[in-house]
């Protein structure tokens, strides 16, 4: 197991920015929950409340030109990589101004300009493509890295194993970020994997470098991600980032979580990455509230933007089928 070297110590200002970013994601998703429950949003939605430090830590460590593929729980990754909250919210409302122009929705957020190669609603579905993009960067000798986000539930599907094997075999410029929140929908880790409490063992089986990190500590995530990205960027092969995190809410909005004990939910709530960073920074209440207001205002603006967005014409459904 590699030790994370503290070679990129973050200054306080940068950490404050991380806090603001995490707060924005939190308030954004809380609002999405609220609007969904109010019946305003079509389809169904998954929030990643509790996992904001993973999104912000990894995405802040990425460089311009890096790409990533996300999961059905993609709002955080997308916002953290710089997509405008207005366009993300507009997508959830199915508007043309949405980042996928209304064709994707919450589970298919794309923003190619910012390296977002798509959130994927098939578990493990994006892993082979991230391997292939990492191969392309290697073949073209480009200093770019392809990053895959996925949950612990994805470690049991064939694409995961085929992708890790191929990536390591070919030393593709890929980083696999396993967001281990110990839940595959309603199935706890111990029911779905013999290595549920140490997913890095999966990587070791493919002789892939693994870095284990506390996913509630954004600084630690950032440092581990930076190290993984530079390893892959330099052509030294892919890295498996084993991130322990907590899903504070249900699988989907409205999930009554009958499968989960009260203790488990309380335990997750006690591992709030935002509270953790706030304590670490020793942030005064006034400062925190000012950050919070700022996040809320951005989300208010996004909601306003989305609601006033343009509805697609029905026949727009026939566009974009072929290039």
């Amino acid at each position: 197991m590699a030790k994370v070297e503290k070679k990129r110590a973050l200054n306080e200002e940068r950490l404050r920015d991380f806090l603001r970013e995490m707060l924005l994601i939190r308030r954004f998703e809380e609002r999405v929950e609220e609007r969904f429950r109010a019946g305003e949003l079509p389809g169904f939605l998954h929030v990643a409340i509790g996992q904001e430090a993973v999104a912000v830590g990894v995405c802040q460590a990425m460089e311009e030109g890096d790409i990533f593929a996300s999961t059905h729980r993609a709002h955080g990754h997308t916002l953290a990589r710089g997509s405008h909250p207005n366009n993300v919210m507009a997508e959830l409302y199915g508007k043309l101004e949405g980042i996928s122009h209304g064709y994707g929705g919450s589970m298919h957020l794309y923003d190619i300009e910012r390296g977002n190669y798509g959130a994927n609603a098939v578990i493990g579905g994006g892993l082979p493509a991230v391997t292939g993009a990492g191969l392309a960067f290697k073949l073209r000798d480009e200093p770019r890295v392809a990053v895959a986000f996925f949950g612990d539930g994805a470690t049991n599907i064939g694409t995961f194993h085929e992708s890790l094997n191929l990536a390591q075999l070919w030393k593709t410029k890929t980083v696999f970020v396993c967001e281990n929140n110990h839940w595959a929908e309603s199935t706890p880790g111990w029911q779905h994997s013999p290595v549920w409490d140490d997913m890095s063992k999966r990587a070791l089986a493919y002789d892939m470098r693994a870095i284990k990190v506390d996913g509630q500590d954004v600084e630690a995530v950032y440092e581990a991600a930076h190290e993984a990205l530079e390893h892959a960027r330099g052509g030294d092969g892919p890295v498996f980032l084993d991130v322990e995190t907590y899903r504070m809410h249900g699988h989907y909005i409205g999930d009554p979580q009958v499968y989960r004990t009260k203790e488990d939910r309380e335990n997750a709530a006690n591992h709030d990455p935002i509270e953790r960073l706030r304590d670490k920074l020793g942030l005064a209440d006034d400062d925190f509230q000012s950050f919070d207001r700022e996040a809320t205002e951005i989300v208010d603006g996004a909601l306003e933007f989305a609601k006033n967005g343009t509805d697609p014409q029905p026949e727009d459904a026939l566009k974009n089928v072929y290039a």
């Binding site: 790409i67 949405g98 996928s100 122009h101 209304g102 064709y103 994707g104 298919h108 794309y110 923003d111 190619i112 300009e113 190669y117 798509g118 994927n120 098939v122 579905g125 994006g126 892993l127 082979p128 493509a129 991230v130 391997t131 292939g132 993009a133 990492g134 191969l135 392309a136 960067f137 073949l139 073209r140 392809a146 064939g158 694409t159 085929e162 992708s163 094997n165 191929l166 075999l169 070919w170 566009k319 974009n320 089928v321 072929y322 290039a323």
Partner: protein, 325 residues
């Protein structure tokens, strides 16, 4: 005009494109030193090296999926799935990913990936090495599907498929690899979506794909002795389908046989028949005949295998039925 085999024609197209374009590379099982299980890629490793001619593990999902990612990142990969029976292993990546990235992104990205595969009965490989599954893929919006039947077409259409900005499933046929045909000296790209009239006739139109093109040409000759003039058309691209060319022919002949090696039931021919009855209803003088495999997996014993798959005689019999002979 030089004469080359269908196998050589595929290799010729791959080599020519790779010589021209650094962004094209190929990967698949056993395609490097061995030159592919059908010998199609022989010699390419020596010319282009192991970076661009990549042997893969037996990982169909990753082969297709890595092709998707490399294509999204701006390259033009050509991946090989050894047998189309094994396409089933990669269907998730083909159907949910390759076909839909452009659409789900609202047109932000393209996936210029070519997936070559082959299949076909007639050599007793049994039920898992000879299926014709093109009907599964033509049903998916976002995919293009090619199925050329001659050396000239396979060469020109593979070129076009690689340079198409969409994912293309490129079907080759096991029994066609040794078939010879004249090709132009220089590769002439053949656009996707254009049918070819293989033989002109006035009484019956046979719309055939893959090996059934050749069997239908044989049947057409036999029908000539019965005094029936048969036109044979190869759609060549199944998606998009050149409906106009088919309709035009039917307006001339008023009788149709649709023939493919795949199972008849729910096959590609069913869609062709539906298109024609709708677009050329007033011109049809007889029910549209369909020729294809019987509704059974492919047995090992040659006598059973041959019973299931369609032959020239089956096409001939269908032609005669359409003219009431």
């Amino acid at each position: 005009m030089p004469e080359i085999t269908y196998r050589e024609a595929v290799r010729d197209a791959l080599g020519a494109v790779m010589r021209k374009d650094e962004d094209v590379f190929i990967m698949g099982e056993d395609i490097a030193e061995m030159g592919g299980s059908m010998g199609v890629t022989q010699g390419l490793l020596e010319e282009f090296g192991a970076e661009r001619v990549r042997n893969t593990p037996i990982s169909e999902m990753a082969i297709v999926g890595a092709g998707i990612g490399a294509a999204m990142a701006g390259m033009r990969p050509v991946v090989e799935i050894m047998y189309e029976d094994f396409l089933t292993l990669s269907l998730e990546q083909i159907v949910n990913q390759a076909a839909k990235h452009r659409y789900m992104s609202g047109g932000q990205i393209k996936v210029p990936l070519t997936i070559r595969t082959q299949g076909g009965a007639g050599w007793s490989p049994g039920a898992q090495h000879a299926q014709q599954l093109e009907a599964w893929l033509v049903h998916i919006p976002g995919l293009k599907v090619a199925f050329p039947s001659t050396p000239e077409d396979v060469r020109g259409m593979l070129w076009s498929s690689i340079y198409d900005d969409n994912p293309v499933i490129f079907f080759e046929h096991r029994l066609l690899y040794p078939v010879k045909g004249d090709v132009p000296e220089e590769i002439e790209p053949i656009p996707l979506g254009k049918a070819r009239v293989m033989r002109e006739g006035t009484d019956v139109t046979v719309i055939a794909t893959g090996p059934l093109v050749h069997r239908s040409l044989d049947a057409a000759k036999a029908a000539e002795d019965d005094g029936i003039s048969v036109e044979v058309i190869d759609p060549r691209t199944l998606q998009p389908l050149d409906e106009d060319a088919l309709v035009e022919s039917v307006k001339k002949t008023n009788r149709v046989v649709v023939a493919h090696e795949a199972v008849t039931r729910m096959g590609f021919g069913a869609e062709v028949a539906a298109v024609l009855q709708y677009k050329a209803f007033d011109y049809l003088d007889a029910p549209i005949e369909r020729v294809g495999a019987k509704f059974a997996p492919l047995a090992f014993a040659p006598v059973m295998e041959q019973f299931v798959v369609p032959h020239a005689e089956d096409v001939h019999a269908a032609i005669k039925r359409t003219v009431g002979k």
